[in-house]
């Protein structure tokens, strides 16, 4: 790989300091920073709602809020976390920033579309915030009809329009990534030299453009059902409310992979860098992303085993769900084996990645209970499901997000954070997380339905809820701490060398930290294999030199 790192040039952060230079930017890196700020804000909103729910559940009769408020709190938590954090976070921040850099391009294919997607995201987000403040939404993030279309009060219409708009933001990003990855790779950057980060985002984008329109139009139909009384799902008109569920999950199961594939993409990068090794079974990991993307579209019915879909449909979807488990399992083994004969460096991103491995394994394995159509019957709609998807979504996506944030923080801003604090904090996230969600498996298995405000009729559940809330408090602390030390590092952190982790890849080796506006000087030409770690290159990189210079 050719490398020219000049230090005396303006980086992308210095290209303009006015508000307009940020709000009208077409630079993918600046848009990624805009996303980083807004996504963090929505994550904060969603976490507040989560804390409200957890506090309320410490007592079987609830003490803090009314039924209505409780329902609005968990709905807000669900909607904000799913539509405004999980789906967006890694692709729109890290994908946006890194895909062009990793394939050696100057920008995404459609920079204006990229900016537009951020505006759509903000528009949808603001609509949802207004809906939340002017009456709230109590139908849960799944918006099942006829509850959402006919019976629920509150600002569901506005919230649904918000979700519809934010759907377009995903679609724009997806179209952009696909065009970029296909057509804008640097000379020598063949498909089999693409970093797994790019492979993961490619698979994600395929799911986005195939799935998101379906849920967008479905939610729009619910809006029409509420506003204009046009009824496609209304049982009063002979319509089928279960059809809504089919269309909703046709997107929303693949959406689970929209959330976790980028997380997996991040983990591949971190495992390779901090093991100083090529990702074990690179081809398998890359293809398993595509396999997951393909299979994800034929498993949606496993959310509906007891929804009154046909018994045989249930068995079909159960079967396909076991198939989709295999590529995920392959990935876990491959990431573990990446450390084999490597040189494991336990820096904070690596600790997050290892945490991801453990939590994702538990999350994935507990998926088997839910994929098996018989065992699903008892635990579906209970806290068992809640615990399961939090292990995948929080244990998977959130830990990957934090890992990515720490890994690429020097690349984004050219500063280092206090590594010691970061390490201990990563451990606290892991512990707090497990303390929060392990008890929920038990209480779900005992039969506690999800979205329950009271459980005085089954007081034996309380001990688990108290444990879970304690864990959630620890988790909350462990999420506030990075907010502080990362912000601190922006101003006072030591300047980072161009490649502080001695990582391979165009974004580290051929660009400065932070990068210049056009990422590279000239067009990088790729000659070597991906993840081509060797001791000599590492030694040089840590001294801030490249092979040519040496």
């Amino acid at each position: 790989m050719t490398t020219h790192v000049a230090t005396d040039e303006k980086n992308y952060l210095q290209e303009g300091h006015t508000l307009a230079s940020w709000l009208l930017t077409k630079d993918h890196k600046r848009i990624a920073v805009l996303y980083l700020i807004s996504v963090s804000f929505f994550f904060f909103v969603g976490s507040i709602a989560a804390m409200m729910v957890r506090l309320e559940l410490t007592s079987p009769r609830g003490t803090l809020m009314s039924n209505e408020t409780y329902n609005k709190a968990f709905s807000a938590h669900g909607v904000v976390m799913v539509f405004f954090f999980l789906v967006v976070a890694i692709p729109a921040i890290f994908g946006n920033f890194l895909i062009p850099m990793q394939i050696g391009a100057r920008d995404l294919a459609f920079p204006r579309l990229n900016l537009l997607s951020w505006y759509f995201y903000m528009a949808g987000g603001i609509m949802f915030l207004i809906a939340m403040m002017s009456g709230g939404v109590d139908a849960g993030w799944t918006f099942y009809t006829p509850m959402s279309s006919i019976y629920s009060n509150g600002q569901i219409t506005l919230a649904l329009v918000g979700a519809f708009v934010v759907g377009f933001s995903s679609i724009f990003t997806g179209v952009n990534f696909i065009a970029t990855i296909h057509k804008m790779r640097a000379p020598g950057m063949t498909w089999w030299r693409l970093p797994l980060f790019v492979w993961g985002h490619y698979a994600t984008s395929l799911i986005v453009i195939l799935g998101t329109p379906v849920v967008a139009i479905t939610l729009l139909l619910v809006v029409f059902e509420r506003v204009a009384k046009i009824g496609i799902f209304s049982p009063e008109l002979g319509g089928d409310p279960v059809l809504f569920q089919h269309m909703f999950w046709f997107y929303s199961h693949p959406a689970v992979y929209i959330m976790v594939l980028p997380g997996m993409a991040v983990i591949s990068e971190i495992m390779a860098c901090f093991s100083r090794n090529k990702v074990f079974g690179y081809h398998f990991v890359a293809l398993s992303s595509l396999g997951i993307a393909a299979l994800s579209f034929i498993v949606w019915g496993h959310h509906m085993f007891v929804s009154s879909q046909s018994m045989y449909q249930g068995i079909f979807f159960s079967f396909t769900s076991f198939l989709v488990a295999v590529p995920s399992a392959i990935k876990v083994f491959n990431w573990s084996l990446t450390m084999y004969k490597g040189s494991v460096w336990l820096a904070s991103p690596m600790i997050y990645a290892l945490g991801f491995l453990g939590l994702f394994t538990v999350g994935g394995m507990t998926g088997l209970y839910l994929a098996s159509v018989g065992t699903d019957v008892h635990v579906t709609g209970t806290y068992f499901v809640v615990a399961h998807f939090h292990y995948v979504m929080v244990g998977g996506t959130l830990l990957a997000f934090l890992g990515a944030l720490h890994f690429w923080w020097p690349k984004f801003f050219g500063r280092m954070y206090p590594e010691g604090v970061a390490k201990w904090n990563a451990l606290l996230v892991f512990i707090g997380f497990n303390l929060t969600f392990l008890p929920q498996f038990v209480v779900g298995w005992l039969g506690m339905p999800r979205r329950y405000h009271y459980y005085y009729f089954a007081p034996e559940f309380q001990v688990y809820h108290v444990m879970s809330t304690l864990g959630a408090s620890a988790l909350a602390v462990s999420l506030i701490v990075p907010a502080f030390y990362l912000t601190y590092s922006l101003f006072k952190g030591p300047k980072s060398p161009p490649n502080p982790w001695a990582a391979r890849g165009l974004e580290w080796e051929a660009a400065a930290s932070p990068p210049i506006k056009h990422n590279f000087h000239g067009v990088p030409v790729v000659v070597g294999d991906v993840y081509d770690y060797d001791a000599e290159a590492e030694e040089l990189a840590l001294r801030g030199m490249t092979k040519e210079e040496a």
Binding site: D240, F322, S336, S343, Y452
Partner: protein, 323 residues
């Protein structure tokens, strides 16, 4: 404070369910431990700066045999669980022919159950131990889910169509009844208890409805007959097929053939559909003549009960009225 670790086993499904559940738990724990030990071992062995010089000879970056063997092994264990789970599900979805039938209506935010002798109860369900019970369920408004954790059974209660589930209680006792599908403000309080009684006690309870609720004076089938007469269904649907309409005698559970050549067994959903939107399934050899009717869910269930009694002599207790 007690630490319960498993729900009680109180139905015919519970033991088999738990066996499979614990099997998957074992598999989960083993796999997690395996990943944990593997990672820990690799970290210790290959930790950077542990003094040993790094050995980067003979690197191994892929191994197709390991990949295929591990995914194959994982898949075969998965398929074993799949087959067992699917078999269990088929059992759960197919009630035995001799099951005792109870109708359940879900509405925000209560459960309403009707026994075949006219006894009704709200937010409670009394069932006999050792007798298969089949619930026919429908919702009046939003989607609910009928969930009894100790029985390991759950199924959604949907507006616009009947769903059913069955179980055989195996142990007398009082069990939780939950609505497991978010249904609005008081979702968490849409529930109550299922009482499994010894058959003797159950018979006694059913006689009087537990003295808690006065049974409606008439049997569902008798109420259905009243509706049938009020709407003069009998002027077209006579005892024998005629030119205007097919007879409803012996209709329930029979195979019907329609003008478009398709066939269907006349079940609850079919009768409900034929009342609300008759044109959908016109019997072979007939013109479409019947207009759609709008009945409440309760009335439809009563008409179905009445139609079930047609074709066989009406039991004397019906003729004689209620208890």
């Amino acid at each position: 404070m007690n630490f319960p670790f498993a729900p009680e086993q109180a139905s015919n499904f519970a033991v088999e369910y738990d066996t499979l559940f614990y099997l998957i738990t074992g598999f989960t724990v083993l796999t997690t431990l395996f990943v944990f030990v593997l990672c820990l071992g690799l970290i210790i062995k290959y930790k950077r700066g542990s003094g040993k010089p790094e050995d980067r000879r003979n690197p191994m970056h892929h191994n197709t045999i390991i990949e295929i063997a591990s995914s194959g092994g994982f898949l075969s264990i998965g398929l074993f669980i799949f087959v067992w789970g699917a078999k269990m599900f088929l059992d759960m979805r197919q009630p035995p022919a001799n099951a005792m039938e109870i109708n359940v209506i879900g509405k925000r935010w209560m459960w309403h159950a009707q026994h075949d002798n006219g006894v009704r109860e709200n937010n409670e369900l009394h069932v006999p131990v050792g007798v298969p019970v089949k619930l026919t369920m429908i919702s009046q408004d939003v989607i609910h889910s009928f969930y009894v954790p100790q029985f390991r059974v759950q199924f959604m209660v949907v507006p616009g169509r009947y769903t059913q589930m069955w179980f055989t209680p195996t142990k007398a006792g009082k069990y939780n009844l939950f609505c497991a599908m978010h249904c609005g403000t008081q979702h968490s309080e849409m529930g109550g208890y299922v009482y499994a009684l010894e058959p003797k006690d159950f018979a006694k309870w059913k006689e009087t409805g537990g003295n808690r609720f006065q049974p409606k004076p008439e049997l569902p089938a008798a109420a259905g007959k009243q509706l049938y007469d009020d709407f003069m269904c009998g002027s077209c649907h006579t005892e024998k097929d005629n030119q205007r309409a097919p007879s409803l005698y012996g209709l329930y559970g029979r195979q019907r053939q329609f003008t478009d050549g398709s066939t269907m067994v006349a079940d609850n959903d079919y009768i409900r559909q034929s009342l609300l939107a008759p044109e959908g399934k016109i019997n072979k050899g007939y013109e479409s003549m019947m207009q759609p009717y709008s009945f409440t869910e309760e009335q439809i269930l009563e008409l179905i009960e009445y139609i079930k009694t047609l074709g066989t002599p009406i039991p004397t207790q019906v003729a004689g009225g209620a208890q």
